[in-house]
C-alpha cells in the first residue's frame, strides 16, 4: 500500500511543507486555567501539595533547589513532530527557557528553567501548534511511545504508529487516568530488536496471525516491566492479543492498577511492584478476567480511533541540484553510523545525535527547514536515545542532507552506536540529582568520537546510559555499560562517584545490568576504555563488546575474565581516590570548579 503511493507520487516530486498533524493534542483553556492557578497559589490559596499535583498533571516539573522555576515537558505522542511545531518550540525556548531544548528518552521535548509564571504562556504557544504537556508528568498515562522506525523497519509485521496515537488520544484527559497510584507508560515498537517493550508498564510488539486463511493484526503485550530504584522485566500476557482487544486490555490493566496499586508507599507504587508482589500468574489471571468484564460492559462505546491511512510520501523537489562528484568529509562515517535502510526501497532513516539530547533554538529552526526539504513524509520522529530521526530520505539526497546538517552542527557521527550515550538531566536541573550525569554523557561522546570509536563495528551495538541518581531516568539498567550517580567520600572530602552496571539490554533478551563496581566520575571515561581494551584482548572472532559482556554477566565466558567479579578486580585501581593535593580535579564534578558535595531537594517522581 505504502509502496504503491510511494512510486506514484515520486513522480510528482513536491515539497511537502504542508504536512500537518491530524490530531490536535492541545486545549487552550488549560493555559488560562494554569495562569490563574499559579496566581492563587502564590497568594497562598492553594497548599503546596495540591498545587504540585496540579502542576505535574499539566506537565510542569519542579526545578533543582528553587520553587521559582519549572521544567515543561512537551509530549510528542508516538514521537511524531512536525516542522512548524519545532519552529514554535525553538521560539518558546528563546522566550521562556534557556535558548535550548532537550529531547528526552521518552519522546518528550523539555524546556528547562522556565519561570513558573510563564508556563501558561508556553501552553499558549504549544496550543497554536496542537501540542500539549498535559499528563507528561504526574500519576497519569505518560507520553505513549512508538519506535522511531515503526512503519519503515524491515522486520516489523505492520506499522503500530496509528495504534500508539489512538491509545494516546484515548487516555489523554480521560478521567480514568487522572489519579493513578503512579505514572503509567506505554511503549509501542516495530520489532524485538528496536524494542524497549519489556521495560515499561505496557509494551507492545505488532504481530500478525492467520486463522483459517484470514489474517489478523494483533500484538505481543508485555506487562509490569520498568526501570527504577528496583527494575523488573515485563511478562508477556498471552500468545497473541488481537488488535480489537488492545483497548480492552489496556483499560483492564489500568483499572487493576488503579484499584490495587500501592498508593501509600511512594517508593513501591509503580505497577511492576504490584505484579511482583502478587506474582505473575495471579496478575495475569486478574487482567484476563478484568478484560472480559470490560468487554462485557463497555462494548458499545469504546474503540480505538485508528487512523491508518499512510502518510503521504512525496520526495521534496530539489531547487538547487548541483551535482556533486565528491562527498563531503566524514560522509561515509556518518552514513554508516547514523542511517538505516528502510523497507521502502530507495529510502533511508537518518538519525541525528544530540549531545545528551540538547539542541539550540537556532538548530531547531534550521532543522525544521531541513525536514521540509529532505523528509518525504514531511515530519520527524523523536527516538529513544535523546535523538531525532528523519525518515523517508531518498538515498540520492543523503549526501546533501549530510552537508546541511554539518552546517548547523547536527552531523555528529555515531548516532546508532555506543558513542551516543544517554544522560539524564542530573544536576543541571533535577532536584534529586547527585551528579552531573548530563555533562558526563557529553564528555564521553566527545572523547569517543575523537577516538573514532563509532567506526568500530565491535562496539556499535553496545550502549552507555547514565543517571544522576538511582532513579533510572537515564536508563542505566538496560545499558551494556550503565552508571548511576552517588557521592564518594575520603575522610571529610567528597567526590562524584558512579555505580557501574554491566550487561543490561532491552531487546529480545532483555536483562538488567549487574552491579560491578563504583567508578569515580573523573575516572569513568578511562574505565570504559579499559573495558574496551580488555574486550579487544579477549574477544572471539565476530564477537561484539555487547556479547562479550553478556557472556560475562551470565557466567558463560570462558576467557580470563569469567565473571563480573573478575571485572571488578581488574577495575579496582580506578576506584582508589587520589589525595586532594595530588589531584584536586578529582574532587569536583564535571561542569563545576568547586569541591563536590551532594545536595538534593524534594523529589517529584513520587508526587
Amino acid at each position: 500500500m505504502i509502496f504503491l503511493i510511494l512510486t506514484v507520487s515520486d513522480l510528482k516530486q513536491s515539497r511537502p511543507d504542508s504536512a500537518k498533524p491530524n490530531i490536535n493534542w492541545a486545549k487552550i483553556e488549560e493555559a488560562e486555567d494554569f495562569a490563574k492557578t499559579v496566581k492563587l497559589y502564590r497568594q497562598g490559596k492553594y497548599n503546596d501539595d495540591s498545587f504540585r499535583r496540579y502542576r505535574l498533571q499539566h506537565g510542569a516539573y519542579g526545578t533543582r533547589m528553587t520553587s521559582d522555576y519549572a521544567m515543561v515537558r512537551i509530549k510528542l505522542p508516538a514521537g511524531e513532530v512536525y516542522p512548524h511545531q519545532l519552529e514554535k518550540i525553538a521560539q518558546l525556548s528563546e522566550q521562556f527557557s534557556i535558548g535550548s531544548a532537550h529531547f528526552s528518552t521518552r519522546e518528550n521535548i523539555q524546556l528547562h528553567w522556565v519561570i513558573l509564571e510563564d508556563v501558561s504562556e508556553i501552553f499558549r504557544g504549544l496550543a497554536e501548534v496542537g501540542l500539549t504537556s498535559r499528563e507528561a508528568c504526574g500519576n497519569s498515562v505518560r507520553n505513549v511511545m512508538c519506535s522511531p522506525l515503526s512503519g519503515v523497519c524491515s522486520d516489523e509485521k505492520f506499522d503500530s504508529t496509528p495504534y500508539a496515537l489512538a491509545t494516546a488520544k484515548f487516555f489523554l484527559r480521560n478521567p480514568m487516568a487522572q489519579s493513578l497510584p503512579r505514572k503509567f507508560k506505554f511503549n509501542f515498537t516495530c520489532c524485538e530488536k528496536h524494542g524497549m517493550v519489556r521495560m515499561v508498564d505496557v509494551g507492545l510488539i505488532p504481530q500478525i496471525r492467520e486463522i483459517d486463511g484470514v489474517t489478523q493484526k494483533g500484538f505481543k503485550i508485555f506487562l509490569g516491566g520498568g526501570l527504577g530504584n528496583r527494575s523488573f522485566v515485563g511478562h508477556q500476557l498471552e500468545e497473541f492479543t488481537a488488535d480489537e482487544d488492545l483497548l480492552y486490555t489496556s483499560i483492564a490493566v489500568l483499572r487493576i492498577f488503579d484499584r490495587l496499586g500501592d498508593r501509600k508507599n511512594l517508593a513501591r507504587n509503580r505497577m511492576r511492584y504490584l505484579v511482583n508482589d502478587m506474582g505473575w500468574d495471579k496478575f495475569q489471571n486478574l487482567v484476563l478476567k478484568e478484560r472480559a468484564l470490560v468487554k462485557a460492559t463497555q462494548s458499545v462505546v469504546t474503540h480505538l480511533d485508528i487512523d491508518d491511512l499512510p502518510s503521504e510520501i512525496k520526495r521534496p523537489i530539489r531547487i538547487t541540484d548541483e551535482s556533486r562528484n565528491s562527498n563531503p568529509d566524514g560522509y561515509a562515517r556518518w552514513l554508516k553510523t547514523n542511517t538505516v535502510k528502510q523497507k521502502q526501497s530507495g529510502y533511508h532513516s537518518v538519525f541525528i545525535t544530540l549531545e545528551a539530547g540538547d539542541i539550540t533554538a537556532n538548530q531547531l529552526t534550521v532543522l525544521a527547514e531541513i525536514i521540509k526539504d529532505f523528509s518525504s513524509e514531511g515530519k520527524a520522529r523523536a527516538g529513544f536515545n535523546q535523538n531525532i530521526a528523519l525518515r523517508y530520505v531518498h538515498e540520492d539526497d543523503l549526501s546533501k542532507l549530510y552537508s546541511q546538517l554539518l552546517g548547523i552542527g547536527l552531523a555528529k557521527s555515531g548516532a546508532l552506536t555506543m558513542t551516543a550515550p544517554v544522560g539524564c538531566s542530573g544536576t543541571t536541573s533535577c532536584n534529586l540529582a547527585l551528579t552531573n550525569s548530563h555533562r558526563l554523557a557529553k564528555e564521553i561522546q566527545r572523547k569517543f568520537l575523537e577516538l573514532k570509536l563509532d567506526e568500530d563495528d565491535d562496539l556499535s551495538d553496545s550502549s552507555i546510559k547514565i543517571s544522576g541518581c538511582p532513579n533510572s531516568c537515564g536508563q542505566h539498567g538496560i545499558a551494556t555499560i550503565g552508571f548511576f550517580g552517588g557521592g564518594g567520600r575520603v575522610g571529610k572530602e567528597m567526590y562524584p562517584n558512579y555505580q557501574m552496571l554491566l550487561g543490561g539490554r532491552s531487546d529480545g533478551e532483555t536483562m538488567l545490568g549487574l552491579t560491578c563496581t563504583r567508578i569515580p566520575a573523573k575516572r569513568v571515561i578511562s574505565a570504559i576504555l579499559k573495558i574496551i581494551e580488555l574486550f579487544k584482548e579477549h574477544k572471539k572472532s565476530n564477537d561484539t563488546l555487547k556479547e562479550w559482556i553478556h557472556r560475562i554477566a551470565n557466567g558463560k565466558e570462558d576467557g580470563d575474565i569469567k565473571s563480573i567479579n573478575d571485572m571488578r578486580k581488574i577495575l579496582e585501581p580506578f576506584t582508589i581516590p587520589p589525595t586532594k593535593e595530588d589531584d584536586p580535579d578529582f574532587y569536583s564534578d564535571y561542569g563545576s570548579d568547586t569541591s563536590y558535595h551532594t545536595k538534593t531537594g524534594k523529589g517529584e517522581c513520587a508526587a
Binding site: Q95, G99, H112, I115, T428
Partner: protein, 270 residues
C-alpha cells in the same frame, strides 16, 4: 495641537502603513541606526543615519543634542527609529531622544530586514538635512543610575527587570532582579507583542499597576531599551532604564546574586 502631540507620545511604535504615508507627506524624520555601510547600501526612503555606536561614543546630553540637531530634529519633529536588530538598537536611540526632552518619537513596528522582505521601497539616496535647534529639557525620571538603583532597594514598590538571556541571568544578576529575556517581548514579525498579549504576559509576572519599574541588560541599555518600550506599550506609567546596565554594575563591584547549586550551563547546546 497640544492634545494631538500628547496622543503621539503615547504611541510607542509606528506601523508600516503609517510610516509610508508620513514619508509621502514628508511629515516625518526617519532614523536608521544601523552601521553606516549598511545604511549606504540601502535604507528606508528619506531616512537619515545615526549608527548606534556613534551615539554611544559620547552620549552626554550636550553631545547628543548636537547630534539630533544635525539630523534636523527640533522639539516639534515627529521621529521614527528603526534598526535590523529586533528593535533593541532603535530603542536605545529613541530613549535617548526622549531623555533630552523630545516627546514625539516612536519605533518602527518591525525591522528593516522584514521591511525589505515585504518588498517595500528602499533607497540609496542620502537626504540633505538642515540643522535644527532642539531645546534641552532632561527627563531624569526615565533614567536610573547605579546609585539610584542601590537606594531603591529600600523602596517597596520597585520592580527590577533583567532582559538578558535566561542563562546569563541565572549565572549572575543584580540582587532582587527578575528575568524577562528580550526575546519574550517580540513576535515573529513585530518587535513588540500586541498590547493585549504583552499585558497578559506582564501581569502573569506581577508587572503591572503603579510600581516603579527599572530595566537593565548586559552593557549599553539596548535590550533593556526595548523592554522600556514594551512596558510603556501597555501603559505602565513609571518606567526607567538603567542605561549603563550590568556591565557598569559589575565594574563598580556592586553585589551580585546567582542561582546556586545547579549546573544549568551544561543543559545548553551552545
Amino acid at each position: 495641537m497640544c492634545s494631538l502631540s500628547q496622543e503621539k507620545t503615547l504611541k510607542n511604535t509606528t506601523d508600516i502603513d503609517s510610516l509610508r504615508s508620513q514619508i509621502r507627506d514628508n511629515s516625518i524624520r526617519v532614523i536608521d541606526v544601523r552601521r553606516e555601510e549598511d545604511y549606504k547600501q540601502n535604507h528606508i526612503p528619506t531616512a537619515v543615519n545615526l549608527p548606534l555606536a556613534n551615539l554611544l561614543s559620547d552620549d552626554s546630553p550636550d553631545r547628543v543634542l548636537k547630534l539630533f540637531n544635525s539630523l534636523g530634529i527640533d522639539d516639534e519633529t515627529s521621529v521614527v527609529v528603526y534598526d535590523d536588530t529586533f528593535g533593541a538598537l532603535a530603542s536605545r536611540v529613541a530613549w535617548t531622544l526622549e531623555y533630552i526632552g523630545h516627546s514625539d518619537v516612536s519605533l518602527l513596528e518591525t525591522t528593516y530586514g522584514k521591511w525589505k522582505s515585504l518588498g517595500l521601497e528602499n533607497d540609496t539616496e542620502i537626504p540633505e538635512v538642515q540643522t535644527k535647534q532642539h531645546s534641552l529639557h532632561l527627563k531624569p525620571e526615565i533614567l536610573a543610575t547605579s546609585d539610584y538603583l542601590e537606594h531603591s532597594k529600600e523602596k517597596k514598590d520597585v520592580i527590577l527587570i533583567d532582559n538578558r538571556e535566561r542563562l546569563n541571568y541565572l549565572e549572575q544578576h543584580i540582587p532582587g532582579a527578575i528575568s524577562l529575556p528580550y526575546r519574550t517581548l517580540a513576535t515573529n514579525d513585530k518587535i513588540l507583542r500586541p498590547r493585549e498579549d504583552m499585558k497578559r504576559l506582564l501581569e502573569n509576572r506581577g508587572i503591572s499597576g503603579d510600581s516603579e519599574i527599572i530595566t537593565y541588560c548586559g552593557s549599553v541599555g539596548t535590550l533593556s531599551g526595548l523592554a522600556y518600550y514594551a512596558l510603556k506599550s501597555v501603559g505602565l506609567p513609571n518606567v526607567k532604564l538603567y542605561v549603563r546596565s550590568f556591565k557598569e554594575w559589575k565594574n563598580l563591584q556592586k553585589p551580585i546574586e546567582k542561582q546556586e547549586d545547579a549546573s544549568y550551563w551544561d543543559l545548553s547546546a551552545e
